[in-house]
């Protein structure tokens, strides 16, 4: 009779109904006389059947919005289109003008093949906004200095975030790296009263072709500062989000 060691992988093949008749015979002969191997075969069959019976239930459905996020990556994967568009920025420009780049963001360079790249990017940012406020908000708030240090260490983003009176009543409640645009986007979560506000800091070179966008019930305003494009987004009126963007524009660099 074959040893337990010899029979090892054959047991799995028998449990999977993939063993040849001769192999099945060897295993059956062995397990008749070997309780541990008999139990092993029984356990493998039971687990296999249980999982197969419930496979559909176990797989289930991906969360709403994930498919849209995946679709959005299609445009990111497109080869970059060379367009020598200078990254705005004259520090003296008022906020509204600086927002020349804006929302529809990373647009031209990254989304050359998309029909409306601005809208696609805005939709992505709005989905990230919704997801992150659901999953990552810190109820007690965060110290902007700590978040700045983390962004610098993890993403190499050297920025200054508004704090104290300069924050205009905004409370920093989260900060994380978004996988969007190769994981090079910083996402900062703020609150002012009941309003949830996201500030996205895009990587150098990512530019926007529109300044104001409405998407999924959210408004977004973009501006350029320090060689980067920043996008403020919230479920608020354009006037409100513009005022909030001004706070970031005045302080952040």
């Amino acid at each position: 009779m074959a040893s337990c060691r010899d029979i090892g992988q054959l047991v799995t093949r028998v449990a999977d109904d993939e063993a040849a008749a001769a192999e099945r015979g060897r295993v059956q002969e062995h397990v008749r006389a070997c309780a541990p191997c008999h139990l092993q075969l029984h356990a493998e069959r039971e687990s296999r059947q249980l999982l197969r019976d419930r496979a559909d239930l176990l797989v289930g459905h991906a969360p709403l919005g994930l498919r849209a996020r995946c679709v959005a990556t299609r445009s990111q994967a497109a080869p970059p289109v060379r367009r020598p568009v200078p990254l705005l920025s004259r520090a003296s420009w008022p906020m509204a003008l600086a927002a020349t780049l804006v929302l529809a963001v990373a647009g031209s360079a990254f989304y050359g093949t998309v029909v409306n790249p601005s809208k696609a990017v805005a939709a992505q940012l709005a989905l990230d906004h919704l997801k992150c406020f659901t999953l990552f908000e810190e109820p007690s708030g965060l110290d902007p200095t700590d978040v700045q240090a983390r962004l610098n260490a993890k993403l190499g983003i050297d920025i200054v975030l508004p704090s104290g009176q300069a924050a205009g009543g905004l409370t920093l409640v989260g900060g994380r790296r978004c996988l969007y645009l190769d994981g090079s986007v910083a996402h900062l979560l703020y609150r002012r009263g009941a309003v949830q506000i996201s500030l996205f800091v895009l990587p150098p070179g990512a530019k926007l072709s529109q300044t104001d966008l409405d998407v999924l019930g959210h408004s977004a305003v973009a501006f350029a500062k320090g060689g980067r494009t920043w996008v403020a987004l919230a479920r608020a009126s354009h006037a409100e989000i513009d005022a909030i963007a001004s706070i970031f524009g005045a302080v952040a660099h």
Binding site: P36, H42, E44, H61, A62, C70, T73
Partner: protein
């Protein structure tokens, strides 16, 4: 393969990839990020995919490799491959008899999910790919990047650990019932 056809076929796998990602990351947010990153890489490499070959296996391979890269980037521990706990579990702990088997077949889905969660990551992935996704041993070896013998060993040990966990839970329910308690309500 036409980009539109590739995109359509690839996106049809989002539910399955998310489910597998959830078993790898054990966290909804990380699973969503992992799937999104997987699609980004897949679309970027779509030119390398040969039409008519195994797109599902190709996508799961990207998912697996992306997961490993993310773990490495985040400085987390590597996947445990041969947990001693499971080694012991595979070595002849008492299993089920007929009454237990009946209870086992009635195992609540929540228990099954919990038992899967408890498996060492490498075993959980192997069992998932084999019994839920029904990939062949050969395909799993390609996805995970280990020899077929290792795949079969992980499947074998994973199934056994799963079974032992479920039997233990069934016995606990039986013990509570004998003591006059009730079986926990079925959870979704």
């Amino acid at each position: 393969m036409e980009p539109a056809a590739f995109e359509q076929d690839a996106l049809a796998l989002v539910d399955r990839l998310y489910a597998a990602a959830l078993r790898l990351t054990r966290n909804d947010a990380d699973a969503q990020d992992l799937v999104q990153d997987t699609y980004l890489r897949a679309f970027r490499s779509s030119g390398q995919f040969e039409a008519g070959t195994n797109l599902r296996g190709w996508m799961f391979t990207i998912l697996h490799n992306t997961f490993l890269n993310q773990r490495r980037d985040r400085g987390r521990d590597p996947i445990e491959a041969d947990s001693e706990v499971v080694e012991r579990a595979a070595d002849g702990r008492p299993g089920g008899s007929n009454p237990e088997e009946l209870l086992l077949r009635e195992t609540m889905d929540a228990d099954l999910q919990a038992a899967l969660e408890k498996l060492p990551a490498a075993y959980r992935e192997a069992v998932w790919l084999r019994d839920v996704e029904q990939f062949s041993y050969d395909e799993i070896a390609g996805i995970v990047g280990v020899p077929i013998g290792t795949v079969m060993s992980r499947i074998s040990r994973g199934r056994r650990a799963l079974y032992d966990d479920l039997v233990t839970r069934s016995r606990e329910y039986a013990r509570r019932a004998d003591a006059g308690g009730e079986r926990p309500a079925r959870r979704v």
